[in-house]
Amino acid sequence: MPKDVALAVVDGDPEAYETDNVHIIYDEIASHFSSTRYKPWPIIANFLDNLPTGWVGLDAGTGNGKYLSLPANRPGDLWTIGMDRSLNLLKIAKQAGGTNTLRELVLGNVLHNCWRAGAFDYAISIATIHHLSTEERRILAIQRLLEAVSPNYGRVLIYVWAIEQDELSKRRVPTSGNVTTGKDVMVPWVQQPALNSVSHDAQQRVHNRYYHMFAKGELQSLVRQAADNLQLEVGAVPENGKLGRRGIEIVQDGWERSNYYTELRCWKCS
C-alpha cells in the first residue's frame, strides 16, 4: 500500500533550507541511493539515442551519473558532463556505466552558470528541479538549462516528480479537489542497516528529503516563464521569421511513471 507523504513547510532562506533538507541528505545516503538507481528511463534513453554523434551535453543534477554512459548502443558518440551538488554522488558517478571509461564531473549548482553561454548541444535535468524550494528557483534552474545550450538548435529534456504517482509508487501525495499547483512534501528515505551488521539492534535510519511534487501543467508553465524571462518566444520556428528572432519549441510534454517531462528545442531565425 502506498503511504501518504508528509506535507512540508518551506521557511527561512531557501538555500539553507535546501542544504539541510536535500544536499546533506544525498551526501549521506549516496551509496545506498545509487544502488537503487541504475535503470535509465526509456524516454530519456530514447532522447539521447537520437542525438547526433559529436554532441556534448550537460546533465544538471546527475546524481550517480546513470545517464552519462548513454547511448548504450553507440558508446562514446556523445559526451555528457555531469554536474551535482553532492560530492559523494559524484564520486560514485565517476565510474558510471561500469566500463573503464571515466566520466567528466563537476561539483556545481544548477542555479549557477559556470559554463560559457550556449556551449552545449543538449542538456538534461532529471529528477532535480523538484528539489528546489521556491518557484522562482525552479524557474531559474530552467533558465540555466536554456542558457547552457546552443540558441540555434540546443535541445533540453527535463523530468520532475508528479503528484500523480503510478500504481508501482510507494508513496501517495495527499490532495483534495482540483490540483493546479504542486505540493511541498517530505519523502522518507529508509536506509537499511548494513547486511553484515553484527549488532541485532542495528536501526533503520530514516532521512526526509524535500520535494516539490509537480501538478499537471505546472512544468510547462515554469518553462514558459523561464522563456519569458530570457525573452524567448514559445512555439514552432516561424517561417520567414525576422532575423535574430529566438525561441523554444515544446517538442513533447507528458507524464511517464510518476513523472512529468518536457522536451524543448531552441531556435533562432537566420
Binding site: V56, G76, I81, L105, C114, W115, R116
Partner: protein, 123 residues
C-alpha cells in the same frame, strides 16, 4: 575529472565577471594520462564547437604542443589522434583553475573541479 573537453566549456561565473572570464588558467596541477577509446566520428562532430585558441593555449601550458594554432582543413588520422589525446586522455587530478579576469580560484580535488560559489558571489 577535468579533462580539456570540460575545461573548454567552463567559464568563471562570479558576480560581475562577464568578460575575459574564459578560459580558466590551470595552476599547480598534477596530471594523469589515461588511455581512452579513440572515436574519430565524435571528434569530427565536436570540432566546430571547440574554442580552438583556448584549447591549444591550455594544452601548451600543460606541455602538449601537438595541436596546430588553427584547426586544419584536412582532418587526417594523425591530427585526430593528437586531438583525442589532448581532449580525452589528459586528466587534471589536483590543482586549481584561476579566472583570468577576477582571479577567483576554483579548486580541483580527486579530478573533480569545485565550481560552487557562495550566494553573495553570484550575479
Amino acid at each position: 575529472m577535468v579533462r580539456l573537453i570540460t575545461h573548454n566549456l567552463l567559464a568563471c561565473h562570479v558576480k560581475g565577471c562577464t568578460s575575459n572570464n574564459f578560459p580558466l588558467q590551470f595552476q599547480d596541477v598534477s596530471i594523469e594520462i589515461r588511455e581512452a577509446e579513440f572515436n574519430p566520428d565524435f571528434l569530427r562532430g565536436f570540432i566546430p564547437k571547440i574554442e580552438w585558441k583556448a584549447l591549444v593555449d591550455t594544452a601548451r601550458q600543460l606541455g602538449d604542443t601537438s595541436l596546430p594554432l588553427e584547426p586544419p582543413e584536412m582532418l587526417d588520422d594523425e591530427f585526430l589522434k593528437n586531438l583525442h589525446h589532448v581532449l580525452l586522455e589528459v586528466h587534471v587530478e589536483e590543482g586549481a583553475m584561476i579566472c583570468p579576469n577576477c582571479n577567483h580560484r576554483y579548486p580541483i580535488s580527486n579530478g573533480i573541479p569545485n565550481m560552487l560559489l557562495a550566494e553573495h558571489e553570484i550575479a
